[in-house]
Amino acid sequence: MKSLRRFLLRLFNLVSRRTQDERLREEIEEHIALQTEENLRAGLSPSEARRQAMLKFGGVEVMKQDYRAQRGLPFIENLLGDLRNAGRTIRRMPGLAAVIIVSLAIGIGANTTIFSWIQMILFQPLPGVSGASNFLLVELRTETGGYPGASWPEYRALQTQVPALRDIVASQMVPFNVGEKGQTERTFGQLVSGNYFSALGLKPAIGRFIRPEEAERPGTEPVIVISYDYWQTRFGGAPRAVGQKLRVNDRDLIVIGVAPKEFQGTMLPLKFELWVPATLTPALLGGARDLEDRSARGFSLIGMLRPGATLAEAQAELSTAMRQLARDYPAASAGIGGEILAFWEAPRGPQRMLISGLAVLQGVMLLLLLAVCGNTANLMLARGSTRQREMAVRVALGAGRWRIVSLVLSENMLLALLGASLGAAIAVWGTTALRVAPMIGAFPILFQTKVDGLTLAFAILLGAACGLIFSAAPAIHLARLDPQDGLRSSSNTPPRSRARKILIGVEVGLAMVVLIAAALFLQSFRSARQTDPRFGPEGVLLAAYDLSGRNPNEAAERQFAARLLDRLRSLPDVEAAAIATNVPLDLHGIPRRSFTVQGRVRTEPGQDRAISNTVTPGYFKVMRISLLEGTDFAEMGDRAAPAEAIVNEEFVRRYLNGADAIGRRIQTRAGSFAIIGVARNSVYDAFGEPAQPAIYFSYRDVPWDQGEIHLRTRSGNETALTSEARAVLRDLDPMLPLYDVRTFSQHIERNLYLRRIPARMFAVLGPLLLGLAAIGIYAVVSYAVARRTKEIGVRLTFGATSGRVVLQIIRENLGAITWGTAIGWLLALVISLHAFPNGPLSLSVFVGVPALLLSVAALACWIPARRASRIDPMAALRHE
């Protein structure tokens, strides 16, 4: 206590130094005056009295120093002094400081931006829900390692049988058609359990939330909760929205409340607008049996640990409950276990995609920051060495080793923290820039990332770590300095070049890795623009429809598609029309299906899989994919033809060794299909992908409740077809909205969006890093050369040509650089082989990038070397 109080007082005294000094001065004066009076009384002359008093008091300055050391905190005073000094030093090297601060800021800014996303997943996986990180995912797991989700009956069982989890809530994502006949709009919502809002601890913005009893039995009150945004845009934020009717999937639901502003549902990063009791499922989804069907596993479960319960207890209870379910309902639940996971461990869905992408990005960015640190260390080392004399003087005047270290450290820390603050500013800009990501794919996405205290702390921590990393070498170097050496002529001492050489090597190696990653990204991105997709996207309009709200049977689905196609084809401007379940180059990829084909015996374990797309007749005409053999699918109305399939060239090459395919049978879980044609290979998942085997099935044989309409225009202006297509669908079914309308080119652009972000990032960072490496090498070499001016002068005097001198200097420095490059190259190769095991190795990148890096490095060596070799030998010899 006593020492704490003393510390606080001293801290306070730091601030109030002046008045304190005044007080001491007065006290001393008083003391001496009293003593003088005393001496006068003793009979001394006035001047002698004062002299004696002063003598008795002792050395005033020494005492004052002692007093001050007592009063303030010398440590902090020194630190403040160091910081002032650091500020002066930095002002004296504006160019170097700018390079260091800006490069650090970019590195820290990029890292902080990505961290703000990761932080969101770790700590705010449920925006708008306080304490969201306490929630855990309850995932069912099949024997084969799949995560299918939970069925409603399973949810009801788990709700009571896992007491360690408080309030398990269930939700299922559903697209709704909202609005009156003829003007419906596709809006995403969640079917939720009755305890959904209460368990999440949410307070409605207005109105109330769904009550547990409203989600108890099917056919209960038709209520709906809307999102804050939906309330604002559709109801103008009016309080009377509560109690109004909303037409959802052709049923009237009563709006009972509005969710809080930030809440966007429980499946990051998707944004939902509507929440409906799960018990309305049969009413809203055309009599769907999701509430009874034990194999309809559409629900996602989350729950919070009861106070005092442990994760292991919850896990054990869940496993027991699942075993019980498997015994009671072997048909649906046999072999299905359960896992309790944190949000960031999400094994499926959009969360999974987001997390894995971010982890890779953060890794690359940390590597980049490390390279920046290496570069800064190099610059500081080179600069620190030129300050040997200054430091030697300080040591000679009595500065301790720690004072020197703290001097260097405070300079570098100041630089690092300046970089970190600028980096934080960049991160603030970056997160807002990335937040306005448009709708990706057919799903609305919202990232509520922001730079908050934790993110800022991360930026500052990164800055401090960087500061420490790049302070270490110069600080150690200078602290070890022998003042005598330092004060003597500097050109006599051999340069300590080992640390610098290693640093250069490390830096170049890191630059190599990042540059190759950048080049690969850029290359794949550019190839996306240049490669022929091997189908014709120009002039094609895409639009989607979804009958799932109707819960139709196969016949209804087939009939709807057939009628839709007939009507579309009769439009005057439509050259060809088709429906398909999947569109190539989609962000989510095209599903692969396992199959067996007649005439192939698989020798290795596992199953053959191929891309599968289900299309209507006319698809190949719309897509301009030519059929090399055979014919198109039979018409939709044809009931006589057997089940058909069309395969592509790669399928024939890979699975049939090029033999005749027509007439062979393909067996899948959906049935047996006869191959009636062979289509040309085209691009399915990504531009530049190696040829993939694919099977097309016919809508006639395998109808779906949703489809992507493909329309090829006659006039070349595909957007003009939008209103006509809408009219056609409205005619067929006034409650069905046409959604996700876009041209094929827009579809491709949109799906390149996610690739474009890292590509752009690398397009900036790659050249920046190359520039930094060049500056680093240049600084180090010019420093080393400057120190050897005398030696070079001697060489020149003894007849060395300047060419020889240049060559020697380059050779000395290029050694470490080459080593670094080679190691970095190998590392990049290993990473690339690991990340894309099947992808082609880009020769141009793996040869071009090292060549570029080495030539830039050689240039950075050559310039200072050449300058040194031009020196007049006489001047060089006289140099210090």
């Binding site: 001491l24 006290e27 009076e37 008091f57 002692d66």
Partner: protein
């Protein structure tokens, strides 16, 4: 060298506390005079060294100070013992007496006593 100064400062602090305990509130000069009178020339301390000690004691809360008028009506800073200081004085007096007793016994001890 440094250690000696520490010991001195410690004893000086104790002397200051005792002085204030006996005489009541005093200014710096008064304390210095008193210490000088009692210790005679045995403790030839520069009077100035008193002030850092006063500061330290004040920071520890053992003494408090305020401006007042000296006996001949000059402005002076008066120091007085706080309750905490009194406690500290008691403890330290005891400690000191104990130490002194031990040291005294040590010096009185003869070779014969130790065997």
């Amino acid at each position: 060298m440094k250690q000696k100064a520490d010991v001195l400062q410690g004893t000086l602090a104790l002397m200051v506390l005792k002085t204030l305990d006996v005489l009541g509130p005093q200014h710096g000069y008064g304390i210095a005079r008193r210490i000088e009178q009692i210790s005679g020339d045995l403790l030839a301390v520069n009077q100035g060294t008193l002030y850092p000690v006063l500061l330290k004691l004040e920071q520890e809360g053992a003494i408090a100070s305020e401006w007042g008028a000296s006996e001949n009506n000059r402005k002076a800073r008066f120091y007085r013992l706080t309750r905490e200081g009194r406690k500290q004085l008691q403890v330290e007096t005891q400690d000191w007496q104990q130490t002194a007793a031990i040291i005294a016994r040590f010096f009185e001890a003869k070779a014969g006593d130790l065997s």
